[in-house]
């Protein structure tokens, strides 16, 4: 079995290092609408409804929903060690940045290639926000 490894530059927003299985969402994510005890997305109409964000490297376009609830949602997951290991986004917005800082989750954007083209759910992804480097490993 061949292993494919790709290294991509990115832009650091919130520093740190995190690695895990990729979970790709084409839709924005609201962390308040996940189950705080499991990390499972409860929003019935969401494409990832029923899937858990816990300990994943989450790839998504941006955050959504009111500022207050987004931060509380991610903070509650982090306090139970159920937050994503790292987050890769296309468009940053203030509320998501603040959420990542408070929950201490590495956050990057401006991947040198379109993250939705190069990263697939299930890939192993290492996000080194300090070095502005994302490594993909596909088996």
């Amino acid at each position: 079995m061949r292993t494919l490894m790709t290294k991509l530059k990115c832009h650091r927003i919130v520093g740190g290092y995190g690695e895990g299985e990729a979970l790709v969402s084409y839709e924005p994510i609201c962390f308040y609408l996940t189950d705080p005890k499991t990390g499972v997305i409860r929003e019935k109409t969401h494409e990832l409804s029923g899937k858990s964000v816990a300990n994943k490297v989450l790839v998504f376009p941006s955050g959504k929903a009111s500022s207050v609830v987004q931060i509380d949602g991610l903070f509650k997951l982090a306090s139970r060690n159920l937050a994503p290991k790292a987050m890769i986004v296309k468009d940053v917005e203030t509320v998501l940045i603040v959420s990542a800082v408070i929950a201490k989750v590495p956050l990057v954007d401006r991947l040198e290639k379109d993250p939705f083209e190069v990263i697939h759910t299930g890939d192993l992804v290492k996000v080194n926000a300090e070095k502005c480097l994302v490594t993909l490993i596909r088996k």
């Binding site: 832009h11 927003i13 919130v14 959504k64 009111s66 500022s67 207050v68 987004q70 931060i71 509380d72 991610l74 903070f75 509650k76 306090s79 940053v92 917005e93 203030t94 509320v95 940045i97 603040v98 959420s99 800082v101 408070i102 954007d109």
Partner: protein, 401 residues
């Protein structure tokens, strides 16, 4: 980002740990947006919520000795003592809320506990640089007043209030205040509830955008603006909007777009407003409660409630609530409105948000409100949304017909 000598000292922790935490957050945001520098702000509004994430950050700042450098007001949490005497509110959550409220006091914030600080407790002027979080506050101060704020999180607004600065990015820059979507309004809007419906529809249709509402010929009232802001920035992300002729930053549609008016547009007619009205008017039949004041009712709206309830009796099976600010409550009491509302069997409560654990008692109950935002939080079994007049009629009859 270029920092001044004083900002460098803050970042190194020379002005205390709390101040350091505050500027670290703002430098992270500034770097994310490639801001060149920090700019001074004159005031801030923190959308305090009494939740765990809120508590964590407030205590981090307060324990680190931080104090607000500029007037920084706070959002409603809830009147803990009042509700403890009334319902058995969940203890653990009350403890979190109490600590949050103490934390803001230690930070030297203005304890307004109001979601409309821009009306009384902390009012920006046209052209001021500020950091205002809270759904209705961000678009209101940008659009209706013409001050400048980004769509802040509670924590970034609080951090800005602590250091008296914000990174220069986004809506702090003229080129980013350009309108992005044209909305043709082809229906007469008759009251503030119809502005709620308009906000609900526009936010849902356009998501993150700066709309121009063209075609409105009658000057919107303060309450019309408040409702439009709150709903549009909840169903969507609308940090700013224009109504040429009535908002100060652009006289014409062309000016709002800084020249390039896009060909695409959305149109709102009577039928779109009716569609919203139908979607929101869910529960029919007997109701257990009516909850008004999301956003907080103004003094004028408290007067309107008093007019509708004067000499009437609210049905014995219905709890009737109006949330407002401490300032409006004081004046409503003095003016005699609260007396009338209480004689009819209703209650007016200050400092309280409808998205708080004090309302857990209604979790399995059916109610009515005039606020689509109140229904959006889904704290209750079922909530029908209708205008104030229908809400008071239903409260008197005990059912929504």
């Amino acid at each position: 980002m270029h920092l001044t000598k004083e900002e460098e000292e803050m970042l190194k922790g020379e002005l205390g740990q709390g101040t350091q935490t505050a500027i670290e957050l703002l430098v992270t945001i500034g770097d994310a947006y490639d801001a060149e520098k920090m700019i001074p702000i004159s005031r801030a509004h923190a959308a305090s919520s009494g939740q765990e994430g809120d508590l964590y950050f407030v205590e981090l700042l307060a324990n680190g000795g931080a104090k607000c450098r500029v007037p920084t007001s706070t959002n409603p949490v809830y009147d803990i003592e009042y509700f403890e005497g009334l319902f058995k509110a969940p203890r653990k959550e009350a403890e979190v809320a109490r600590k949050v409220m103490e934390g803001y006091k230690r930070l030297g914030a203005i304890l307004s506990w109001s979601c409309l600080p821009y009306l009384a407790e902390n009012i920006p002027l046209n052209g001021e640089t500020v950091a205002f979080s809270e759904s209705s506050a961000t678009p209101y101060v940008n659009s209706v007043i013409g001050a400048r704020t980004n769509r802040e999180a509670a924590q970034s607004a609080l951090a800005a209030g602590i250091i008296g600065r914000t990174p220069e990015y986004g809506l702090q820059l003229t080129e980013n205040r350009k309108a992005t979507v044209l909305v043709k309004v082809e229906v007469d809007l008759n009251n503030e509830f119809e502005y709620s419906l308009l906000g609900q529809y526009v936010g849902r249709e356009i998501g993150y955008a700066i709309p121009v509402l063209a075609g409105i010929s009658k000057h919107p009232s303060t309450e019309d603006f408040i409702n439009f802001c709150a709903m549009a920035n909840t169903s969507g992300a609308i940090p700013m909007f224009y109504i040429p002729g009535f908002t100060p930053e652009a006289e014409t549609v062309e000016e709002a777009f800084q020249g390039d008016v896009p060909p695409d547009r959305i149109t709102v007619t009577h039928s779109e407003l009716e569609q919203m009205r139908q979607e929101l008017q869910t529960a029919r039949g007997e109701i257990d409660f009516v909850l008004l004041g999301c956003p907080h009712y103004t003094l004028k709206q408290l007067g309107e409630v008093a007019r509708l309830l004067k000499g009437k009796k609210i049905h014995s099976g219905v709890d009737f609530w109006v949330c407002t600010s401490a300032t409006a409550e004081l004046l409503a009491k003095r003016t005699g409105y609260i007396d009338i509302i209480e004689k009819a069997g209703g209650r007016v409560v200050a400092d309280t948000c409808i998205d708080e654990p004090c309302w857990t008692v209604y979790k399995e109950k059916t109610g009515m409100t005039d606020s689509p935002k109140c229904a959006y939080y889904r704290r209750f079994k079922e909530v029908a949304v209708a205008d104030l007049e229908d809400c008071t009629k239903a409260a008197i009859k005990g059912k929504n017909e």
